[in-house]
Symmetry: C2
Subunit: 267 residues, 2 copies
């Protein structure tokens, strides 16, 4: 099916894109060569061509960055953009009232990928960023996505390894299974100190027009008893986003009919 | 320098990415083939390889979309992200008070590219969207970026063509030159009905740590006399973003020393 040539060029381009990180968004050709393991001449040629397509740009000091053109192409037609756009006014509303961090995550490659984050100066510690990731078992968003995700993903997650960030992280499969059933039953995840002892995450599911869970809306607040008050705020906002996406009402049948509709991961 | 093979594969991949639009974010292989002018077999092979790298994804109904992985790679290391992140709290503040549309634009390829937009249901008509574009001469953000942009860009813009969206659009070079001088002198652009008769844009420059204009922060409100009240709001927010980016104070020297510092486009 594929030519050796085509595969090889594309794989190299993927490696070049992967070389750029939030910590180091600007690299020289020799740095890119070192990180990708590609020969300097190959790197130089591919970078030049990516620059000609505006997929990369070059600083005055010859450092290379991700170009606006590729950002534009993938953002304007991104299927995530419709969920993110529907969620923004609700997230802003939550952010105005609760402060701290408000974020929107989706399932991608067995992790939570954060599409959006609103935060405040001096807010509680948080490890997410836009286009950042967290494992499913440790974060409130991840637990919501895992609880409502495909059964095989849940089984793979339960099979571990389950990294323990704090003594509170649910790193035991039986405990995780019970938490997932609870998330489905109560309609949200409540996670005191799972990722960091001082932070508490509350997340609720966002559903699309077929009633499928497509994202998790979460708030990260200080890990104290006052955090309970954000639960209805987060749930209401997530419900609002779902309505904006055209989800059928009533969404929250799991209150009445239990977790069986979500398929089989009860303990 | 470049092999014919490598160039051709990359150019084809660029064409495939360009086939996806906000209106049609999901396409079949034959639709992609038709839009790119690539042979169906070539399209099918390249799509399969892009899917294997998660740069594209395939629905259950075999339609192809932009993948999360490429969005993640370009977003996490995008140089635009730091400006956008610095601007968000200020934009949210403006949005809370003014409502309507608040947007952040940067100069790209002789146009304004919008990085971010906050809007409200029922807000005044606006043609921008995230990762959307507008010409420089017609939009308030564009006029700010053009007024502070490189002299050769300004000369090219003045050489036209200058599309007239409404009778108010500055489509005459002499008038546009005068408006740009005014934008530099007063520190903002005020654009009643330039893009649509019922909308008015107000934009102010965002400067980086070297004092260079890197973005324009704008508000789009109904085209009436009350719009004057948003000028200080937009200017203050743009100043705040610039401070957050580490711009040296005082930024607004053009109030005292005139447009000459911005280089030569006064009439």
């Amino acid at each position: 099916m594929r030519t050796q040539m085509g595969e090889s060029v594309l794989s190299r381009v993927v490696r070049i894109f992967e070389a750029f990180t939030p910590e180091e968004p600007a690299l020289t050709v020799s740095e890119i060569s070192r990180r990708t393991g590609l020969h300097v001449a190959t790197t130089s040629r591919l970078v030049a061509e990516l620059v000609s397509h505006e997929f990369l740009t070059r600083d005055e000091d010859r450092r290379v960055r991700i170009g606006m053109r590729v950002w534009e192409l993938v953002t304007r037609a991104s299927p995530t953009l419709s969920v993110r756009n529907a969620a923004m006014p609700f997230m802003e509303g939550v952010h105005d009232v609760v402060g701290h961090h408000v974020q929107l995550g989706v399932l991608d490659g067995g992790e939570v990928l954060f599409l959006e984050r609103l935060s405040a100066p001096g807010a509680v510690i948080n490890y997410t960023r836009i286009a950042g990731r967290l494992p499913l078992h440790a974060s409130s968003s991840g637990l919501v996505l895992l609880a409502h995700g495909p059964a095989d993903l849940r089984e793979r997650a339960l099979a571990g390894p389950l990294h323990r960030y704090t003594p509170n992280t649910p790193a035991d499969p039986a405990q995780l299974r019970a938490i997932l059933a609870e998330v489905r039953r109560q309609g949200y995840a409540y996670c005191p100190g799972y990722v960091h002892p001082e932070a508490l995450g509350v997340a609720a599911p966002v559903r699309d027009d077929r009633g499928e869970v497509v994202a998790a809306l979460a708030v990260i607040v200080p890990n104290n008893v006052g955090a309970q008050s954000v639960v209805p705020v987060v749930r209401t906002a997530a419900r609002g986003v779902s309505r904006a996406l055209g989800t059928p009402a009533p969404q929250d049948r799991q209150h009445h009919s239990g977790a069986v509709r979500d398929g089989g991961a009860t303990p």
